[in-house]
């Protein structure tokens, strides 16, 4: 079927697709997200294809195989979901496939080995919706991910896709903006600026040309919701952008996307082509007379390009340096034209808000932060992955109920939110509701929703140093405080972690934080103080231990620790001695070994290979 020329035709087409699908057809959904693919999802999907082909006649049923976007529960990939049973299998290998077909698909039997087992209660859970990781979620932005094939536009249309656009085409542009305003949607990229207000300011500017843009330059380390949405449901973003363009009278859109996300680029590219073919992009969308198309701009590996003015310069084919935002980009953005830039998750929410109404959306979340938010729960936590929950959930609920607690039963120390612009929030504040304002008050920020769980083996001074080092490498170098201040901060933090710190180091760090906050040109610099100030505020004792006792309590900072072998635990297996690059571990077979600390370079290989946990850090 070619282009769809009217709204009625789209509805007819949707019914046509539905008619072609038998509801009870067993379907195998193999997650093809970056994580699962890396864990070997492709051979699993191939094994299903092979076996279905082989047994096709014998089975006497059709089995649909869908390679979907990321289910979010990446820790346990490759993930295979079975419909209509609603069963989720984890860590599936090609050799499991025959058994799955035989037992589960043919006779409805659950294979215990492959289902979720709760690490604390040992409960076995087969059903997708009952697994704690999914149970507490409320998926809006992630609504289709894992359930549809992102490379097939029919899947999206069947799931109700482009209905929001149809509805919007019947609305006055001004009413679309009002709907978004009333929903209370705030930008999901970091700043949390009210989306409707942004749109309203853009249309208020007199101009014949306007741009809508999508920021998929997801730079905060530890956040990958935008990647997941682009890989798993690109049409939701495209539909959101078309609705935004319609509301603001824009005819050209841009998606700025990280080139480090090859699968996202690929799926977005094919989705744009499919949308054009179907008449959902291009001239006179669905016969409405409204023209709009979207271009892709691939990022070049520069964190600062997530900043709006830098992003726009990068799109225009320049070095991505920010400029002073004394004139906002809604007034003078790309090519000095009024421009609305929203992030992936924000755009993905738009069609649902239009479909279900502002009131529905505003009914979720908290007073100041409406709706749901996608978080990527990573670090030292049992269940790593993407979760979408109503705003206002507490950190503790996120980490303990959904995340299944801290890895290896270690002590929960803190969470880091907001990437390099955010800060660390200690365990004692973990009843804090996660929303834009609470996090900012606590000295961190929402950022794009990365939640990095830290345990007792995480050194908070090292974390501060990590982020400052990150920013030193990512600073564009345009303004003095950021370009020259960050390296000085890194010097001071390096001194502290290497045992050269004095009392004045912390005072000087605070002074530089003040300088960056007030004096830097763009958000990268003005928020750079957060990782340092929040760790000083909540973990001053760790700074003091490094400075005064010359000790790293978490056992991370190399200059302040020594490796030793516990003679009680050592079995004398010689594995550490064989792996030691310095050849400084000695001992007879079956006798406790000893590390020559004078020769030891603290590379940690011995600890990594020891299966008896006998190598200790002190």
């Amino acid at each position: 079927m070619g282009a769809i020329n009217t709204i009625e035709q789209l509805e007819a087409y949707r019914q046509e697709i539905a008619a072609g699908i038998k509801a009870d057809l067993p379907t195998v959904l193999v997650c093809f997200g970056t994580g699962c693919q890396a864990n070997g999802a492709r051979p699993v999907a191939e094994a299903f294809s092979d076996i279905i082909e082989e047994q096709g006649l014998e089975l006497n049923v059709n089995i649909g195989i869908k390679t979907t976007g990321c289910h979010g529960y990446c820790e346990n990939g490759p993930l295979v979901a079975l419909q209509p049973q609603g069963i989720l299998y984890l860590k599936v290998k090609p050799e499991d496939v025959a058994e799955i077909v035989e037992k589960t698909i043919r006779s409805g039997e659950v294979i215990e080995r492959l289902i979720y087992q709760d690490k604390t209660t040992s409960d076995m859970v087969a059903e997708y919706s009952e697994i704690p990781f999914y149970k507490h979620q409320h998926r809006i932005a992630l609504r289709n991910i894992g359930a549809i094939d992102p490379t097939n536009i029919d899947d999206y249309i069947l799931a109700g896709g482009y209905s929001g656009l149809v509805k919007a085409l019947g609305m006055k542009p001004d009413d679309i903006i009002t709907e978004i305003e009333d929903s209370g949607l705030r930008g999901r990229g970091g700043g949390g600026f009210p989306t409707g207000t942004k749109w309203r300011s853009c249309v208020a500017v007199d101009s014949d040309v306007r741009y809508v843009m999508c920021n998929c330059d997801e730079g905060d380390p530890g956040a990958f919701m935008d990647r997941s949405i682009m890989e798993g449901d690109p049409h939701s973003v495209i539909e959101g952008m078309i609705i935004g363009a319609l509301a603001m009278g824009s005819h050209t859109g841009y998606v700025y996307i990280r080139d480090e996300y090859p699968l996202a680029v690929k799926n977005l590219t094919s989705a744009l082509e499919a949308a054009r073919e179907k008449g959902l992009l291009g001239e006179s969308i669905l016969g409405s007379g409204f023209d709009f198309d979207i271009k892709i701009s691939r990022g070049g590996g520069a964190f600062v390009c997530g900043e709006s003015s830098a992003l726009m310069r990068s799109v225009a084919g320049e070095v991505g340096e920010p400029r002073a935002k004394y004139i906002r980009s809604v007034e003078r953005g790309l090519y000095d034209k009024p421009t609305v830039l929203n992030n992936v998750e924000t755009w993905a929410n738009v069609p649902e808000i239009i479909m279900k109404g502002a009131e529905w959306y505003a009914g979720l979340g908290t007073e100041g932060s409406k709706g749901t938010k996608v978080f990527s729960l990573v670090g030292k936590v049992n269940n790593t992955g993407l979760v979408e929950v109503p705003m206002g959930i507490s950190i503790r609920e996120l980490v303990e109920n959904i995340g299944g607690g801290v890895l290896n039963g270690k002590k929960f120390k803190a969470v880091q939110t907001g990437g390099p612009s955010g800060g660390c929030i200690p365990e004692r504040l973990s009843d804090l509701p996660v929303d834009f304002d609470s996090l900012t008050e606590a000295g961190s920020m929402m950022g794009s929703g990365g939640i990095i769980v830290m345990d007792e083996e995480t050194c908070m001074v090292d974390v501060a140093k990590y982020f400052i080092n990150f920013l030193v490498e990512e600073s564009c170098g345009k303004c003095t405080p950021c370009r020259d201040g960050l390296p000085r901060m890194l010097d001071l933090l390096t001194d502290i972690t290497e045992g050269r710190g004095g009392e004045e180091h912390v005072a000087m760090l605070e002074e530089l934080c003040d300088l960056l906050t007030w004096g830097a040109l763009c958000g990268l610099g003005t928020s750079a103080a957060n990782p340092v100030l929040s760790t000083i505020k909540y973990f001053r004792d760790e700074y003091d231990a490094h400075i005064f006792d010359k000790k790293c309590p978490a056992g991370v900072c190399k200059e302040l620790i020594t490796y030793a072998i516990d003679p009680e635990a050592c079995t004398g297996c010689r594995l550490c001695a064989k792996n030691c690059p310095q050849e400084c571990i000695t001992g007879e077979r079956k006798e406790p070994h000893v590390i020559d600390t004078a020769e030891c370079i603290k590379c940690g290989l011995c600890r990594d290979v020891c299966t008896f946990d006998a190598v200790r850090i002190s």
Binding site: E474, G477, T480, G485, E511, L512, W518, G519
Partner: protein, 242 residues
């Protein structure tokens, strides 16, 4: 042109709408230091941060670079507050740590008080000499001269102006505008025996037929002739003897 009134340090001045704070202040005898800004160069400014001032508007205060912040109705500017001086001193201390050889920076810092540098001096991958990476030179080359011989290369602390690959540029006309514009005198331009050396390239100078002074690079003459159609003989004499 629309005129508006703006308050700076308690005094009210008339200014053109969208004129930058720095210019309004300077026109009215209020000193604000600046390095990277030149009113003749449209794209200059905003990078060195020594001209930061308090901008009060709509009940909100923030520090803004006065060189590119447009004056608006109801704006109140404060250039002489503890916050302004604290941040400016911090910026200058960082610059001194970066380019200890620069007299211009030292003098500006001395005007702000103590001039000791507590930070370890930075040993970068290249000799920073006196360059504060403010980009005024590259902005002049691009916006005013229009030859784009140099650009700001690298990022972060290694950012600096340079020709492509650090090689003598084919398009450079040796005009020296970059060197004249540089606020810290960091660009070396030397002349000897009728030859000018800048950015690693030698330029033969045209000599004035009257006074015999080599006064303009041949490449610059060629470029002006090519782009403006001016008669070549015009350059036989230096501006003093035309």
């Amino acid at each position: 042109m629309e005129k508006i009134s703006v308050k700076i340090d308690g005094r009210t001045f008339e200014a053109a709408k969208d004129q930058c704070i720095l210019e309004v202040a300077h026109e009215n005898g209020i000193y604000i230091p600046s390095l990277c800004y030149n009113s003749e160069v449209a794209s200059s400014g905003g990078s060195c941060r020594v001209c930061l001032v308090e901008a009060h508007q709509g009940g909100r205060m923030r520090l803004v670079t006065s060189c590119n912040y447009p004056v608006r109705k109801g704006l109140e500017v404060k250039t002489d507050t503890p916050l302004v001086h604290r941040i400016r001193r911090g910026v200058l201390e960082l610059l001194m740590a970066r380019v200890p050889d620069s007299e211009a920076i030292r003098e500006m810092a001395a005007a702000e008080g103590p001039t000791d540098v507590r930070f370890r001096l930075d040993e970068g991958e290249y000799d920073r000499y006196k360059c504060i990476a403010c980009a005024l030179c590259t902005n002049v080359c691009a916006d005013v001269v229009g030859v784009f011989a140099i650009g700001m290369v690298n990022r972060g602390a290694d950012k600096k102006p340079d020709t492509p690959y650090g090689k003598p540029s084919d398009v450079c006309i040796g005009c020296g505008a970059c060197a004249y514009a540089c606020p810290t005198g960091a660009i070396t331009m030397k002349e000897k025996d009728g030859v000018r050396r800048i950015w690693g390239r030698d330029f033969d100078m045209v000599t004035c037929s009257v006074c015999g002074t080599p006064y303009i690079p041949q490449a610059q003459v060629d470029w002006i002739v090519r782009t403006t159609g001016k008669d070549r003989s015009f350059f036989d004499k230096c501006p003093d003897h035309r």
